[in-house]
Symmetry: C2
Subunit: 262 residues, 2 copies
């Protein structure tokens, strides 16, 4: 990692001392003084820039984006595989749990918590580790193969929240952009990962193919409201899980700096 940074750094500064190149070249390369400090500063600057990018993604300030900024690959890899992502997942799960517990449910079976699936209940991180953490353009065929394996692990803090809201007496509705074709493998994967006893699993059918996720999910939430359900909580990693019509009393945005679904 250090040598990679050194390489990047030297590519940046090479032009500034290229005029000093003389023939015959000396056998010992003299780096400019304080190069370690400069590399450190470059590193801190990149971290600042990528943190700023991640904030604007999480606060929904960015235009629809197709891939992460190239220079942030290392940053996002570190975040996703290090403690940052885990800590953020735990925090959002805890906040949601405290909120869920604070509510008095009516007891008529109409109080609902909605969960998205991918990057909310199930993690596709094993796939993205092999596919550039969002730097590669999304490949639906490759991703489909991964889904078909049914091997996505649970996001543990979400599993804890899931069990908590079930215990509290919420109806749990799963609302996902996955296609109806994936119903059986999705059920299999969910059960394998420890999820049980949901009340509805809503996938995209033919009628809703091609619609923006925001539109599809808004329509489905509106139907719930028409059926008399009260949507009290909603957990999703995309703003398209949470915004639009018939929004939840409170929404919980799980972190996801790898991809964007409009």
């Amino acid at each position: 990692m250090f040598f990679f940074k050194l390489f990047i750094f030297l590519s940046f500064v090479s032009s500034s001392f290229s005029h000093e190149t003389l023939l015959p070249r000396p056998l010992i390369i003299q780096y400019p003084e304080g190069i370690e400090t400069q590399i450190h500063e470059f590193d801190e600057e990149l971290k600042l820039q990528c943190t700023s990018w991640r904030f604007s993604a999480e606060a929904n300030n960015l235009s629809p984006w197709k891939m992460i900024p190239e220079e942030c690959l290392g940053y996002i890899k570190d975040y996703m595989t290090g403690r940052g992502y885990k800590m953020d997942l735990e925090r959002v799960s805890n906040e949601a749990g405290v909120y869920a517990q604070s509510l008095e449910l009516s007891g008529d079976g109409k109080d609902v918590w909605i969960f998205d699936i991918d990057e909310t209940l199930l993690s596709n991180l094993p796939y993205y580790v092999e596919h550039g953490y969002g730097l590669e353009i999304f490949d639906p065929i490759e991703f489909d193969k991964w889904i078909q394996r049914g091997m996505a692990p649970a996001i543990e803090p979400s599993l804890q929240l899931y069990e908590k809201v079930l215990d509290l007496g919420f109806k749990v509705f799963l609302l996902t952009g996955r296609s109806e074709q994936h119903r059986s493998i999705t059920i299999e994967n969910l059960i394998k990962a420890g999820f049980r006893s949901w009340d509805k699993l809503i996938l995209r059918d033919g009628e809703h193919q091609g619609k923006l996720a925001t539109v599809f999910k808004s329509e489905k939430r509106s139907e719930m409201v028409e059926e008399g359900y009260r949507i009290l909580g909603n957990s999703g990693d995309q703003w398209s899980d949470l915004l639009g019509a018939a929004t939840s009393s409170r929404s919980f945005k799980l972190p996801n700096p790898m991809y964007y679904i409009p």
Copy 2:
């Protein structure tokens, strides 16, 4: 700053070697080996925790909060007075500008951009520097005195966006939680800071005192829509500026880790 961290760190670890205290005490205090590394690790851990807290605040995952976490005071001070805050402000202003420019306005004078005022157009950072960066419980009397001075500086990236949307032909509506009593000093402050030519300045009148900001601002936006305006952009540092009824086609959340308005 180093000594402050050393102090905090020593308070944490003191219990682990207090049993070694013997009388008479030695004149030279021996710190445990690798203390610098441990302080560095403690520092990194705190940074990670406070970044995680800031994310959950910016993504609207937290329950209403009255003050920042005590242990994050140093982190938030560094963020607010360092490059992080400035960079985030510039990024959200640029994103909003690109979006504004991408729109084709109708030319009928009904296309609107809404701006909040405090921590959106005008900065109260000089006040918060003197009042613990959000660690002190909000003091309305002290804050009122600061407002009455009319000295809040412009948030420069917001001023640039403001001028851009005016140039593009948007109607600019300012929608603020400030009270009607502050109308003239607010106008004076805005003009002094470089803001001009807004089309409406909406403050809280008696009828709207005591309402949540989300409710007050939703009502005002709904009135705009009833009057035939199209709300195409909305910039605010609080989610209560952006969510609720008659929301904007796109909203831009400016950073603010210092206070929360429900």
